[in-house]
Symmetry: D2
């Protein structure tokens, strides 16, 4: 086991068990065989193959057996598993029945549809987990609507915010991901069934009829045309997976930064042991999420290359699907479940948020102060005064607003200007409007 | 000029002039200033700034002048163009008026909204050109609905198809791109206006009111929350651009392969001179399109990294937007216009398509033959016979069906089995259903 | 098993068995434990730990047992395997002995050195196989020094070449890869042993002494400074792996193109069955090699991101190493062994090479003709004449040189000008000089 | 100007002026023409072209004029600039002379050699600047050999280090880059001169002779075989450029993190104004460097795709060279010069380093404490005690060592154990050994 997603030691960090099963050898074979079974049944019902044959194929292959070694040899020879798989399936059928297995289908019909069958199952799990994550983020935001903290732009203290608004930055893109998923699924969840070069030639004029019935049997829709060489729906979904992991990566990045000792606004108390340093509580899950975000981006980029497929079907792209997609979907799915775990295992240190605000000595109120001063002087003068007060505050380790008061002769409610909670604008309104989408 | 998109010699191959103007320095400054002008006017109408001020800002800055060198120095110092730009704009206003320029906005509000303003204009051009391309593909497909040719899978002759069906593989994904664009635009075409850390704090409780009015003035929608650190809509659009170029790359790949001398099904007669070989007609536009596909994928992948933005606003991501997005959108737009040129400049050689079919000596009818034979024998026997006939056909340079006839004692209409046009299944039906979407 | 490199069905196509073992869980644990054993022995010999202790650790842990489930839980908690591994190792030692296990080391010391230990073994295998591949290419080139064929530039017939010269394009970059490998190995094959933040603080002033002895024991060199956060040597090697696969991908691309039916210069007769088309012989190995080239490039790019490690050690980068490196090295190694198989299983069709030359009808001699004509007329006139002759040749399906003879009144040995073998310049000289490097 | 590297406002941040000139249109044309001039002179001296002709070409074309519009049209038609360029050059020569321009060369000979000519000049600049950067890093390290600070692993306080050792992490990989550059240059700085398909056929048996003389004239070496389709040397150098920027990105990442307000160990006092917040000093140059690192990685990855070139010369790859390489080399060069500026403009706040150590309350000495305690108790007990002391220190806001003293009855020099400077191991020795390489 070369892949960290398959390693018995590391797979639970980088993969998702349920999704991994769908994309295992067994998961693939199950879906491949399901295609052949449903195809046979459908073709019998449409009188394309003799009566009884479809039912028999359906029944017998429910418990088909496989010689993995022969499948491996077959794959090595053919670059696809289908010829060897069919050979084994046929051996488990009466010769007269075997004739009608995989009738009028081409290898990639089976491979592509089996991919979609598994994606459909995977999307149900992923969608459910994503809903769990957005719900959890919603709860956390609800709880921290009044938790004032330093807002940071360009990695510098900027002006006050509340923790819930930071969470909104994690939540709102995921809400849009749910919307995007709803939009793309009708394009994605379609069967592939068009024969060797997309014409269903072997079926004469019955291609569409069989397609419709097969799609219905598999709980999928039909495609207007063969997508053997139209890989956009898979690439679109790959991008979706990568974007999901990337957006979660943004959350992880914020958490990692907030968990730095000097910041301390988030702590991971239970985990992240060091082999020699008992003082360490490493932000393991944030790290994992960040690595998954990068990993997914890379695999999704690779999937993007399959758009440039040659002619009617492209064997290089088929191999790339095989190399890049299962790791991608497992990693993206893991990033959702690990994100939930991350939120559950971290503790928000509101005291540290306050302490950091205090340590800032009011410099974070610079913008607020400018806007107050501007009421009675030119903006450039106001900015200059506040900048001077900021510098004095740094030098004297004094409160910026006190310095500003000394510097100016304006009459202001200086005490109120010291309070970050007075400078939060429409934060609550924004938070509420985003939380409402969640429900 | 380091970029091939800016070079006076090469830009017309790798960029799109109209889009490039939008994403030039002038294009950006125009959009930045437009934001400030509309903001002022809106704030005046909402009585946030004194009467007359907004109108004056709006009027005076219509013809604002800029010292590019100072803007450059400013960018070098600040990593963003806004402080230096504002300084220059303020110098062109009365001091009392200047106070109210950029009132309660933050740099990234202007930068992000200016990006969207230009994207909106770009999307109109790109959408129109994309429609032109799909229309052209539709016409070409219509013309070649009966142009029989070799269908090729895994870069090998497989079974017959028609040229229109190959074109469907180019067209259908682009039709879906149009659908995707319609879905993503409402998410994308929204203003950014939320102040330093997303709270519109400087506006007290008037943030939403100003946002709505500003959005209306700019012909955009509002966002539920600040997207300074929510880059998913930009990344989604970047992926869309890259997918568009990638799908066109697939068309180019097919064309490049069909234009090989030994295949000869497409010719570029007018172009592609060699410096020494008068026999050469290089498939220049197909090459260009393939390079654009790769280039867009790479820049879009880079854009994907901006999802992992730090805290409330991230300066690294802002620079990456600046480095990767304009080249991406120009290249993707170029791939559409160059695709149209490519279709216009190439000639389809139907004779070569026939000649290749003839040269194949009927081996392409192998699948058809198996399905005929299977009516009177076991599949495995049928396959074995046809395989043997294929080999004999290669060895003897004879027609596969003739060899098959010699090998078998089945009674078939062998002459009809020789005709590729008899083995096209539902190709026409598929083509029609895709062409219908176009109209 | 999510990864195609771990799948029992597909791993032999996309991975290399020997390398995969090194990068399996067992392979990693073996190397991790080896580090701890050698460290103990070395520390005993340097009197850093009590006499007998090192020998005991070394002996007892030779047959250490592991509870994989506990290791998995440990990894989940810590993001690294070391704390849980050490816990299990300590339980297999007397308490007094256990105290001195992993003495003064940090987790990443073990992880990084264990990576290098395995890379060293892997490089021996890879180097040997690469030598096998270059030798095979050398033999093939030797055999085809006089096999004249069409040279193709920009996917168009250009001027004559010999097959050996095409092979030189595959071989020469691999020879340079061998040179590059020799250059990078001294940088790469160094131990990591520097304690928590790179100071070997726990060892007082004995850090270097222990490092040297440990390196010697492991057959590695020492590093001047801790490379916990200096990932350039790993990235350099990752690039090397990806370049190797990429260069082999170029060979595969040429083979894939030459194996097209219309070209037919290479055939894969034994393999690549289709599920329904007995006429197909798919270029499976060429496809596999092309997919591996793309896959390696993608993983190597991901490895590149680890250069930007934070502070003294970065947990995100450690996870990325784990996700990207083993698949990369296995895929690159597979591309070498699959390349050897590809060469062994393909047959070169010299007759098709001749046939294609004949079918070209002498247009490939256009450059040669220009250079002959130029001796007695202006270049522009010569070019124009030859271009005209090329066009007539296409129209009349006649030999270009015959057309040219009709068009011009120059006295030339026209028959000699028809022979591609007369226009090969210094091909043989070039081939010989490259083959000489091989030996 | 679409590219941020060409924008008059932003180019000085993302590009390097000297390198940009080399890779401008003018820079390319100069190198292209130089090739043709030297070729003519060399061919005259070897009596391949008539006496006087070479000298005349050399002299006349020194001041060649160009019609950029025609060059642009030519590029659009041909996908390469050479045919149009030659046409214009020929018009500036006597017809009899023009015949011998570009004699026996192919377009890509000129294009590739012109690339190498410019790379050679660029490498001189880059090498010099890199030396400047390593020297500056050396000085900074020298200055901070005793500047004790918190060492951070996995973004958490770990154990003490000195600032110089952090600088070593920035410096040592750059030293190795210098070594790598020396190794790769002999492979890279070679001319391309082999005619249409790599045989120098037009020169009969004189290919090597001309190559050697031409290489000498251009100050380059010769290649064993044509590298039209062997792109490894360009890709190797692209990787080198990207690695350089990536390693500098690591420095920038550390600086960005150290410049956070809560950490404050580095300050950028002069720059990074905000449009509304006078309290901000944004780490602009660190941001720029990080964006350049990502940008270079992306372009270098794209260059990697050119390894898979088709046949004897590949037009797609030629376009990719044009799209990706100039931006890559300019960005990488900029990252070096911006890094020097970054070091010059930042101030190291030793006081903050001390303050952070103090605020840590001795928890950073956890590992040191364990190693002291282990002398008189079992490791597991020592670890447990120290962990308890760390927790008490956090809860009570007390010094960890004081807590530990209360918890244990061991007799230790507790005061010495409180001092981070006592736990620096061989830091100085490591620093010295790396600095020595610099000199």
């Amino acid at each position: 086991m070369v892949s960290a997603q398959d390693s018995t030691i590391t797979s639970s960090s980088f993969s998702d068990k349920e999704i991994a099963e769908l994309f295992s050898d067994v998961g693939e074979i199950d879906a491949l065989v399901l295609f052949e079974r449903e195809l046979a049944r459908v073709q019998e019902s449409l009188q394309i193959i003799p009566e009884g044959i479809g039912k028999e194929i359906y029944a017998v292959l429910e418990n088909a057996k496989f010689d993995t070694e022969l499948l491996a040899t077959g794959f090595e020879n053919d670059g696809i598993p289908i010829p060897a798989l069919l050979k084994q399936l046929r051996e488990q059928l009466e010769p007269a029945v075997a004739n009608y297995l995989h009738f009028c289908a081409t290898s990639q019909d089976v491979i592509d549809t089996a991919l979609i069958i598994r994606i459909k199952s995977a999307v149900e799990i992923i969608g459910k987990n994503l809903k769990g994550l957005t719900a959890e983020l919603g709860r956390l935001a609800q709880k921290h609507k009044a938790t004032v903290m330093i807002g940071r732009t360009r990695n510098q203290s900027a002006s006050p915010t509340v923790f819930a608004l930071k969470i909104v930055n994690w939540l709102a893109p995921l809400q849009r991901q749910q919307q995007r998923l709803n939009e793309l699924l009708p394009r994605l969840l379609v069967i592939q069934f068009s024969g060797a070069t997309g014409t269903n030639a072997a079926l004469g004029n019955k291609g569409r009829e069989v397609s419709s019935a097969l799609a219905a049997a598999l709980g999928l829709a039909t495609a207007d045309s063969s997508w053997h060489a139209q890989r956009d729906t898979i690439v679109e979904f790959s991008n979706w997976l990568s974007m999901t992991a990337g957006q979660i990566g943004k959350m992880a990045q914020d958490i990692l930064l907030m968990a730095q000792n000097e910041v301390g606004e988030i702590r991971f108390s239970g985990a992240g042991k060091s082999s020699t340093m008992p003082n360490k509580f490493n932000p393991v899950l944030a790290e994992t999420l960040l690595s998954l975000a990068s990993y997914c981006r890379s695999q999704s980029d690779l999937m993007g290359s399959t758009l440039v497929a040659s002619h009617e079907r492209d064997g290089v792209c088929m191999s790339l699907d095989r190399l890049a997609f299962p790791p991608l979907i497992c990693a993206a799915a893991a990033s959702i479940t690990q994100a939930i775990k991350c939120l559950a295992s971290m503790s928000v240190n509101e005291e540290a948020m306050s302490r950091n605000l205090i340590a800032d000595n009011g410099r974070i109120m610079a913008e607020a102060a400018v806007f107050e001063l501007v009421k009675s002087m030119k903006r450039s003068k106001a900015s200059a005064l506040v900048r001077q007060a900021c510098e004095l505050s740094l030098t004297n380790n004094s409160h910026m607003i006190d310095e500003l008061q000394s510097l100016s002769d304006v009459n202001l409610n200086w005490d109120e200007l010291k309070k970050p909670k007075n400078y939060l604008g429409n934060a609550e309104e924004v938070i509420d409007s985003v939380l409402q989408i969640n429900s």
